[in-house]
């Protein structure tokens, strides 16, 4: 098992801080009504899943996001300015204002999430294309505990198994599908137990431990690249924010949420790096300041950017 290189450990912390800061800013922009539309879907508390997973991928691999897409976008190095511009509905955004499920196809990030679970068969198809072309590139899809019940996901998992596709099915179990606790939606304790039923290896990982996620995904990537087919990984995590930023969350207690903040992945990773002697408090403060500056610059870029012209609503439908 390939362990994470010490040089890469700090950048992953920075990425997690960047996700948190960008999303906090996005949420605040919505709440003070700088932006409107469908409220932001934040991945607060889930940063380690995307950052750990994406660290295991390489150029030419593909990622299919959920509606909480900002974390993989940032983890795969997308331009924060252009992410923010899209969130602010400007034409300088990646999707030119057409959708906040951001895509940068040149970096292999395909933003989906409008229909839950629909990205999983599409990710399987991308894996099929790699296999048919004889490439060793892999396809990774994120989906949640809620989506794991969708027919699309069952069908895609089975297809990946029978066709030995280089697919990584990354089930991000954040314990809630909007207001429905996973215990009320899924009978088994580990969703990954279903993997054996499809004929796939199933792995459960602590989704709040960024290095553990990295190790689980890098194993799955190696299996896929060598022709060994798909892996189902269940990353156990917790959604610290609401489903969308305006969610009053009447379905769970403030005590429950407060208790889970103790296990925040950023807090844990920071403590771990300090204990390993890889991080000082000054360095951490410096990273936070850098990230704040980067996000502030992104907001400025977004605010200065033009909105799309109305005529653009009729462009890009047909190739």
């Amino acid at each position: 098992m390939e362990a994470m290189d010490a040089n890469k450990k700090l950048p992953m912390l920075r990425q997690m801080l960047l996700v948190r800061r960008l999303e906090d800013e996005w949420g605040e922009a919505y709440c003070r009504e700088d932006i409107g539309g469908i409220p932001p879907a934040l991945s607060t508390g889930q940063e380690a899943v995307s950052v750990g997973a994406c660290a295991a991928l390489g150029p030419g691999d593909f990622v299919f996001t959920t509606h909480r897409g900002q974390a993989p976008q940032i983890a795969l190095g997308l331009d924060v300015k252009r992410i923010m511009a899209e969130l602010y509905c400007r034409r300088t955004g990646y999707n030119k204002g057409k959708s906040y499920h951001i895509t940068d196809f040149s970096r292999g990030v395909v933003g989906m999430g409008g229909i839950i679970g629909a990205q999983v068969p599409v990710a399987a198809g991308m894996a099929l294309a790699q296999k048919l072309k004889g490439s060793d590139r892999v396809s990774l899809c994120f989906f949640g505990d809620g989506a794991s019940n969708e027919g699309a996901v069952h069908e895609a998992a089975n297809l990946a198994a029978i066709w030995t596709l280089p697919l990584i099915l990354l089930c991000e179990n954040n314990e809630y599908c909007i207001s429905l606790p996973v215990r009320a939606a899924v009978k088994v304790v580990n969703i990954a137990d279903r993997a054996a039923g499809y004929g796939l290896p199933g792995v459960v990982v602590d989704g709040n431990d960024v290095l553990a996620v990295y190790e689980a995904v890098i194993s799955a990537v190696a299996r896929a690249r060598s022709g060994g087919g798909a892996t189902w990984i269940e990353a156990k995590t917790y959604r610290l924010g609401g489903h969308l930023v305006h969610d009053p969350q009447y379905y769970r207690s403030k005590d429950e949420i407060a208790a889970r903040w103790e296990h925040c992945p950023i807090k844990r990773y920071r403590a771990q790096l300090v204990a390993e002697g890889l991080l000082t408090e000054e360095k951490f403060a410096q990273l936070e300041a850098e990230v704040a500056q980067e996000v502030a610059a992104a907001v400025e870029f977004a605010r200065q950017s033009p909105f799309p012209a109305p005529e653009e609503a009729f462009e890009d439908l047909w190739a």
């Binding site: 057409k98 229909i115 999983v120 068969p121 599409v122 198809g125 099929l128 048919l132």
Partner: protein, 348 residues
């Protein structure tokens, strides 16, 4: 000349007609040629490799192998989704639905994913997929194996729809569909699969393509414009023959594609005849018949000498028993009666 009974499988084919090309053979040829030309073309479907029920993919496994002619399990959502993903990855998948009615199982992957991904990404991706859908009634196949569901997709943005009525069109439109960078739904009328057609010399050209968005005037006429698709084109042509003896001249327009729709040819015809009947097997309400009438109303209203008419399935599931099925689907007689009414209203 063209009678519904001609479409029944047991009908004998004359030695001369045996030299003609069957509609399903034309589709097979189109796919074969495009798969030879372009290694990124591959297929998925239930039983397409060894036991295609309508024989359209017969022989392709032997030439192209099981990586490119893939039997899929009963997983329409994953099959279409995988086609979308494979298309993003640079392939050109052709997906066969064993019966087009099953399209309802995979609608999300078609209308929300295949059709929208280019738009939602601001033009970053294309989804060049072809989905083949056996459709149409008249063979007693029952309500969930006899529908003509293209009206649903005339409504949804981002999908092209082909409705071939002859072997030449089937080949040319299929080749065009495979080369098109957009998602295409390719409907194939089951009752037309075994019908045989003479083909023009250019049919043999490996780049024989029929463009989308160009309707075909199958019969020129002056009194009534009859717009039809697939099997109904042939019922309309039979009606035209019958009515010619009564000195009524029909212009029969074969739509060929629903999306894009050739509004110009239809409007030009109505500006000349002043009368329009649209006939299809689709359920009448909110159908393609309705759409054609709407655009004629918008663009040729001043030329109309009579109210426009729609013919179709009035809005019941297609029944199993032939007497019931025949009562539900439009036919030559209904077209003839409708034409006489439309012409009679104004006198002649």
């Amino acid at each position: 000349m063209f009678d519904k009974r001609l479409f029944r499988p047991r009908e004998r084919v004359s030695p001369e007609q045996r030299k003609w090309v069957s509609l399903r053979g034309a589709i097979n040829e189109a796919m074969r040629e495009e798969m030879r030309r372009d290694p990124t073309v591959f297929q998925m479907g239930q039983d397409i490799a060894k036991a295609p029920p309508f024989g359209v993919t017969a022989g392709l496994l032997e030439e192209f192998g099981s990586e490119r002619i893939r039997d899929a399990p009963c997983s329409e959502v994953a099959m279409v989704g995988a086609a979308v993903g494979a298309a993003l990855g640079g392939m050109r998948p052709i997906v066969e639905f064993q019966f087009g009615d099953f399209v309802s199982v995979a609608i999300d992957q078609i209308t929300h994913q295949a059709a929208m991904l280019r738009y939602l990404t601001g033009g970053q991706v294309n989804v060049p997929i072809v989905i083949r859908l056996p459709c149409g009634g008249g063979q007693g196949a029952g309500a969930q194996h006899s529908q003509s569901l293209y009206s649903w997709f005339g409504h949804a943005p981002g999908i092209k729809v082909a409705l071939p009525s002859t072997a030449a069109d089937a080949k040319g439109l299929m080749k065009m569909a495979i080369r098109d960078p957009n998602p295409v739904l390719f409907f194939e009328h089951k009752a037309l699969y075994r019908t045989r057609w003479p083909v023009p010399p250019e049919y043999r050209d490996p780049d024989f393509l029929v463009p989308f968005g160009q309707a075909a005037v199958r019969r020129a006429g002056t009194d009534v414009s009859v717009v039809a698709t697939m099997a109904m084109v042939h019922h309309a042509l039979a009606a035209a023959e019958e009515l010619a003896a009564e000195d009524i001249s029909l212009e029969v327009i074969d739509l060929r594609t629903l999306v894009p729709l050739d509004a110009e040819t239809i409007v030009r015809s109505v500006l000349q005849t002043g009368r329009i009947i649209v006939v299809d097997e689709a359920y009448l309400s909110c159908s393609i018949q309705s759409e054609v009438i709407a655009l004629v109303g918008e663009r040729a209203f001043q030329a109309l000498k009579a109210a426009p008419r729609r013919l179709g399935n009035p809005g019941v599931p297609v029944p199993f028993a032939p007497q019931l099925e025949d009562a539900v689907l439009p036919n030559q007689q209904q077209i003839v009666v409708a034409v006489r009414e439309v012409v009679g209203r104004q006198g002649k």
